[in-house]
Symmetry: C2
Subunit: 216 residues, 2 copies
DNA sequence: AGCTAAGAGTTAACCGAGTCAAGTTTTTGT
DNA sequence: ACAAAAACTTGACTCGGTTAACTCTTAGCT
């Protein structure tokens, strides 16, 4: 089954070793306090090699999280027949909440908390995270376009959905960082998610405008 | 009227000289191709002084654009009585479009185009721009909160509005970058803005879900 | 006017991220 | 067994950003 040569196996192992070393050091000492030279040394690899596997220092950390880039697009694409995209995303996010998936922010494992503190506490990491979010948004827009809706609508919808999901996660992180236990916060987080998706579906006019309002 | 001492005046002039030198060089040679040492030399200033005025190389460029950080919040706060926030923002954006304000992306002055090409073509600049957008979003959320709506709704609404505004601007930039004249594209851009605000106000359910749909 | 304290500016040296070129070792296919 | 390909290393380099020590100018007081 493993038609993977020795070379590939070693590459995978090297990459993993670098990633592991980076994670250990970041969790132990924080992002700024660790230099890429430290990481390279810990992984027993030279600096140029490290940068062959990871383009930037930030990617060393974000790599673990990056797998979720295509997630929303996949959810929309794989939704059961008869279920509309928004509902599918809503259900999926509720499921992720129930699973205490770290992407939702609702996870109080010490390691997850530490990682998230580093993430939101380091501007350059947050900025890079936005780049990943951009990729996720583009993929989602494409998936939505397959429903036949016009491209502009899809792009705007993808942007709104992506930013709302990020806002929900940050909100949950804030609550967990405030000392709450994930289990205690689950109901609240689920309610917030329901509210957010209702807002996405129903629009802002109920709160900040007239339903049929049109400027000018 | 000028209760501004000689010291303040000199500081303002120094800052301006640095900013001007930076803009000239960036427009002439691009972002990556210019080093901060070049800019410092052109402004006849030492490198540490340059960094006293601008925290990062990116800020050297973004400073000109940064004034818009409080704009949406101000529009909401200063809206005429009886006009709801969403309408006020919609009207304001249409006015900015009519004025060919660079923030809308609908501006084909060569210098503006060159600047925008640099902006969107340089990932680190785009990332920094997101930081500015974050500030704008926070300010807008605060302004919306003054309407009495609950904080979560305000934060989500601010995030959605901000991201949609950015998407519209990028859309317009793309059209202008494609070679179109701003005057020819104005009607199209206005229609897109109307569509976007209708989407914000009315929600996504018309396109991607049932109006009364609720997951589970 | 003359003195002093604040603070803007300079020089010079430094750190860390990221890149490059040249050469060495290891895997692979024949 | 051998040659081509590809990973890795070393060492040196560029550039963004910071620090410390020192100089010069402005502000404010008497």
């Amino acid at each position: 089954m493993t038609d993977e040569g020795l070379r590939e196996r070693k590459k995978r192992r090297t990459r993993q070793a670098i990633s592991d070393a980076a994670m250990d050091l970041f969790l132990a000492r924080g992002f700024r306090q660790v230099s890429v030279a430290d990481i390279a040394a810990a992984a027993e690899v030279s600096k140029p090699t490290l940068f062959k596997y990871f383009a930037t220092k930030e990617d060393l950390l974000l790599d673990r999280i990056a797998d979720h880039r295509e997630e929303t697009a996949r959810v929309v694409r794989d939704r059961p027949a008869g279920v509309d995209p928004l509902d599918a995303l809503h259900r999926h996010f509720r499921d992720r909440l129930a699973d205490r998936d770290p992407v939702t922010g609702l996870n109080d494992a010490p390691e997850t908390i530490a990682l998230r503190d580093i993430l939101y506490g380091t501007p350059s990491l947050a900025a890079h995270l936005m780049r990943y979010a951009g990729a996720s948004e583009a993929a989602l827009a494409e998936a939505l376009a397959e429903t036949g809706a016009d491209p502009l609508t899809c792009r705007l919808a993808a942007a709104q959905i992506t930013v709302v999901l990020l806002a929900l996660a940050e909100d949950n992180w804030r609550r967990v960082a405030g000392g709450g236990r994930a289990d205690d916060l689950h109901a609240e987080a689920a309610a917030a998610a329901d509210h957010a998706f209702a807002l996405l579906a129903g629009g802002l006019s109920v709160h900040f405008g007239q339903p049929a309002a049109s400027a000018r």
